[in-house]
Symmetry: C2
Subunit: 300 residues, 2 copies
């Protein structure tokens, strides 16, 4: 399973970066191959200062070895060996009318003392963070998520949409990071879902990423915008930074377990502002966004 | 003691904000008085878009009531009441030749079931974060710290300088946030130092803040600079954000105990950049700064 999934994310990284370069039309991804001293490594691909993408990364990694102490504590195990691989992507478009998107699909194995698999699971999802909210974009994104889910279980979309709203929540701001999507974790074998079934589900969701995002970026990338709207985008990007550095478990694990810092923090936006006590104008588009982030909508 | 120290920080806030407005020459502090629903409140003063200060805050607060659950756990007590007050300031100058400065002085009381003081202590310090390093500025700042310390104990400067280097450390980047200053905490009564003695020490340090910082800002605020230097300033401000959101105990306590978010996060810089895998040119001034941040210097 680990070889099968790692091969899959390698091909997926190629497919996604190729498509994004075509959309951008100017910038190309810069590739960094890195090794993890304790075992494994990754292939980081970052795009910067494009016509469409101001900054973004589509990274894969496959790491293994002794489970770091902090993770042993977290999982309640001792001296376990592990393997983990996944693809993570974040894209910050230049145009404030175009939303930031994040996605991640990952697979994890833990081993017993004889080297046999003691536990294994998939996790991941995708979610959208608009600066200006186009309802049709949110609906398209969520419908694409639902279509992928429905092929595997009629309950998945509802369940994983709710988990996404829960997880990507800036509790200190009382608002969601964005308008959600899917979030699932610890997807383990059950009588209904074998690991093969989970593989089919996760790759179905991952395969639908370009269908979910490319029509949106194509529609918004060339819209006109003002300095006021850029300011708003940069202020909202500040909230993105706050979520990733204060609340995101993946980022904090990475920072505290000697991960490759530049690959982890590629998720942070390029140009960001913090303005004291900023509030949007009453009845503005900016205020409408905040209202939706505070009260998630059923987009499908 | 609590009334005496709270009166002191009120007057100190006036003194510092008045001086900073004179230095800026254009922007003035905007004042927000706020109440904490559970008891107490504060007076937040923020300056933005000045000629000298791009963003900054000089805040005081005095809060009391039942110790929040997370802090009970932290201090290992149950159902205690507390009082805490302090002044916190952060100044982000516009000119990249001028350093960011941070300072905080605080006093804490915890009560037993009869309302008597069960524990009390002072804490605080001040520290400097340059973007371009002028050795004479660092030396002046540290000498001013040492002069204040030496009046109270010949060991204090060495001890609290080392603690400052330890505390303001971005472990995930293997570098200090800045070039340090003083950091002390849990300053409790001992046979050598009564609480009155600690009050004298802490106010001596606080009184020296303007002596430590104003000659530096006066000297650097009008130096010429380039776009390249602004970029570097904004990238380094990203590290400031990383420290405050990932490592700073004060910020995280505030965010997780329902503090006034805007007063806590006034510390974040106005314009910030994250660039993937950025490295300064070999033998540049930017590289010299990084070397010093990785290997703290004895400036006195």
């Amino acid at each position: 399973m680990k070889d099968k999934f790692y091969n899959y994310i390698q091909l997926l990284q190629d497919r996604i970066t190729k498509k994004l370069e075509t959309i951008d039309g100017k910038a190309v991804f810069k590739e960094d191959i890195w090794k993890r001293p304790e075992g494994g490594g990754g292939r980081t691909r970052v795009i910067e200062k494009g016509q469409v993408f101001e900054k973004g990364g589509v990274n894969i990694s496959g790491v293994h070895g002794k489970l770091p102490d902090t993770m042993q504590k977290y999982f309640g195990v001792e001296d376990a060996n592990f393997f983990a691989c996944g693809l993570s992507l974040v894209l910050h478009p230049k145009n404030p009318m175009a939303p930031t998107v994040h996605a991640n699909w990952r697979y994890f194995e833990m081993y017993d003392k004889n080297g046999n698999i003691a536990d294994q699971w998939f996790g991941g999802g995708l979610d959208l963070t608009p600066y200006y909210l186009f309802n049709e974009d949110a609906t398209h994104f969520h419908k694409t998520c639902k279509t992928a889910c429905d092929k595997h279980d009629p309950e998945f979309y509802k369940k994983y949409k709710a988990r996404c709203d829960d997880y990507f929540y800036n509790s200190h701001r009382n608002e969601g990071r964005g308008i959600g999507g899917l979030f699932f974790d610890y997807c383990k074998a059950t009588p209904n879902m074998s690991m093969e079934n989970w593989y089919d589900f996760v790759t179905e969701v991952a395969n639908s990423f370009l269908d979910a995002y490319t029509p949106i970026i194509e529609k918004r990338k060339d819209l006109p915008y003002t300095d006021h709207q850029i300011n708003w985008q940069q202020i909202r990007r500040g909230r993105y930074v706050e979520f990733n550095l204060v609340h995101d478990k993946g980022t904090l694990f990475g920072l505290k377990t000697n991960g490759r810092i530049e690959s982890i923090l590629m998720s942070l936006p390029p140009q960001v502002q913090w303005v004291y006590d900023h509030h949007p104008e009453p009845n503005s588009e900016e205020e409408r966004l905040i209202n939706v982030l505070q009260n998630p909508i059923d987009w499908v």
